[in-house]
């Protein structure tokens, strides 16, 4: 909880800049996420939310700034290094391995935490078999955790939209993250699916995983997040608990346009 007496810093970025040609997509962005909170990121379309996500997960290399996670310097690190240090993500446009089963998708996520290589694949030694069984068991447990275990053997492309989103979350959790970054997980979901998703996120947080969340559903964000940062034109224009952010005049202006005084 945000109002806990003792807060522990998990992720911190300062002075992050990212330019694409003439577009200044991220302009001096700073934010810090504490262990155990649900941290929301909102802003109008094109504000730079997904760009920031891509920077935080190593897909984009920022031009300037500082990026530390658990005190480790992750500035301009490769995606696999970022994942190994404990940041996992989902995608705004679902990016599953469509022609694999749901279970296999999650099993791929275990790669970052397992070892066996080609020798094991050929000779099937006991160590490899044991590891494979452990991967399978853990992946099934994760499917159960997000509530889609009954679809384990179905191809990812055949799952419903909401279940595909859950599968992406299970796959991200398979990397044993301490920070789970969700890019618009409720997009395209109906009311019931959104409620279920909210409960899932609360469960994940209760189990000790910090969550960074991008979402357009403002009602969901206000009810779920401990703190929210608002991006507009690549700049952070507000940050704080939902009630304060909601009433911040700059936020209202960014969302509704300038209001004459």
């Amino acid at each position: 909880m945000a109002n806990q007496a003792k807060t522990e810093l998990l992720l911190e970025i300062t002075g992050i800049h990212k330019r694409f040609g003439g577009l200044h997509a991220l302009n001096d962005v700073a934010l810090s996420i504490n262990k155990g909170e649900i941290y929301g990121l909102i802003g109008p379309n094109g504000a730079g939310k997904t760009t920031l996500f891509n920077v935080l997960t190593g897909l984009y290399q920022p031009d300037e700034g500082k990026f530390t996670f658990k005190g480790i310097d992750l500035f301009r690190q490769k995606p696999n290094v970022v994942v190994e240090s404990g940041i996992a993500r989902t995608f705004q446009n679902i990016r599953l391995f469509h022609n694999m089963t749901a279970l296999e998708n999650v099993m791929v996520g275990r790669h970052v935490r397992t070892k066996a290589g080609v020798i094991g694949a050929v000779f099937r030694n006991p160590g490899t078999k044991a590891e494979e069984a452990a991967i399978r068991a853990r992946s099934l447990a994760l499917l159960d955790y997000v509530g889609i275990r009954k679809h384990a053997e179905e191809h990812a492309k055949n799952l419903s939209y909401g279940d595909q989103r859950r599968l992406e979350i299970a796959r991200a959790l398979a990397t044993d993250p301490q920070l789970l970054a969700l890019d618009e997980p409720a997009a395209g979901m109906n009311g019931k699916e959104t409620d279920d998703l909210k409960r899932l996120m609360e469960k994940i947080r209760a189990d000790g995983v910090t969550i960074l969340l991008i979402e357009h559903d403002v009602k969901l964000m206000m009810g779920l997040c401990d703190r929210i940062a608002v991006l507009d034109y690549g700049k952070k224009i507000a940050e704080g608990v939902p009630e304060v952010v909601k009433n911040d005049p700059r936020v209202i202006e960014a969302y509704l346009g300038a209001t004459p005084d």
Binding site: P79, V83, N93, G117
Partner: protein, 309 residues
């Protein structure tokens, strides 16, 4: 009728060899969208190295039995071709991974020429007879003839292909290969070591190529440094016929192409009144290639290419 069954058997034998080679093309294509035109030369290298290894082994004078010599030669050739495949990817393709797709394609043709010329330098540009060490006692099969060697080729090819499909479906490496082929960036994000997976794809495909090369040599009784071009083109046709990038498609395409070619060649002479003989059999492979490219570019089992993210 006898001729038909005979050609069917011959087609099955040649087809299972095409299938093994086609798997090498299709695995690389599935992961890199690259047509590795040097793969035919890997097959050639497998055959030539095995012949040399056999002559070294038999020069020891121990008097090993024929099949042991062939297996020994193959066991020397496989790691060498695997190494060649590994080095090609590392040196020629990896630096071009982010280049436009035409660049690695042209490089592949270049590598193919380089390997062929290296082979010419080592073995001279003459056909070498493949040592006659394997039993080929004929058996009667519904009025047609099938030899021990042909049976071994078909059975071995089927076992290897089944093993490969099982590896791709059931093991961690296989899963990683499929993940990389479906979405390389996301696979990397999940901790899959992409370079390792790509290297292994080349290594495995080259190993299969070496085995296929020995099968070609044993089946036709000879091998030569420029043999890789035609056999590679045929196997590429088989891969396209089955749907390039699709492993099951490569197997089906290979066997189907072998049968079309053999049956077609068997009837070409009688049907044209002797104007075109069975040595025109190659035209069938390329007719198939053209027809597939015109009417079903995605191949028999290939998916529509539309959904690439």
């Amino acid at each position: 009728m006898d001729i038909f069954i005979q050609q069917l058997i011959n087609g099955l034998v040649v087809g299972s060899i095409y299938a093994l080679i086609a798997l090498g093309y299709t695995m690389v294509y599935g992961i890199l969208q690259l047509i590795n035109f040097a793969h035919g030369e890997i097959v050639m290298m497998g055959a030539m190295i095995t012949i040399s290894a056999i002559s070294v082994l038999s020069a020891t004078g121990v008097g090993l039995p024929g099949p042991v010599l062939v297996i020994g030669g193959l066991l020397i050739a496989i790691p060498i071709t695997m190494l060649i495949g590994f080095v090609i990817e590392r040196v020629a393709y990896r630096p071009l991974r982010k280049a436009p797709r035409l660049a690695p394609l042209i490089t592949a043709i270049g590598i193919s020429i380089v390997l062929q010329q290296i082979a010419v330098l080592i073995w001279k540009n003459n056909p070498r007879s493949f040592p006659d060490l394997l039993p080929h006692d004929p058996h009667n099969f519904f009025g047609a003839v099938i030899t021990d060697l042909q049976i071994v080729i078909v059975v071995l090819a089927i076992l290897i292909m089944a093993g490969l499909l099982l590896m791709v479906e059931k093991t961690k490496l296989g899963r990683a290969m499929r993940a990389v082929s479906m979405n390389q960036a996301v696979a990397g994000l999940m901790g899959v070591n992409i370079n390792y997976v790509i290297s292994m794809t080349f290594v495995i495909g080259s190993g299969l190529g070496a085995i296929a090369g020995v099968m070609v040599g044993a089946n036709y009784g000879l091998a030569y440094p420029t043999m890789g071009f035609m056999i590679g083109l045929k196997a590429f046709t088989a891969a396209v016929l089955g749907g390039i990038g699709n492993l099951g498609g490569a197997v089906a395409g290979g066997i189907l192409l072998g049968i079309i070619e053999s049956v077609g060649a068997g009837y070409l002479g009688p049907l044209t009144g002797g104007v075109l003989g069975s040595h025109y059999q190659d035209i069938f492979a390329f007719m198939v290639l053209i027809l597939v490219l015109v009417f079903r570019p995605s191949g028999l089992l290939g998916e529509r290419v539309a959904e690439r993210a």
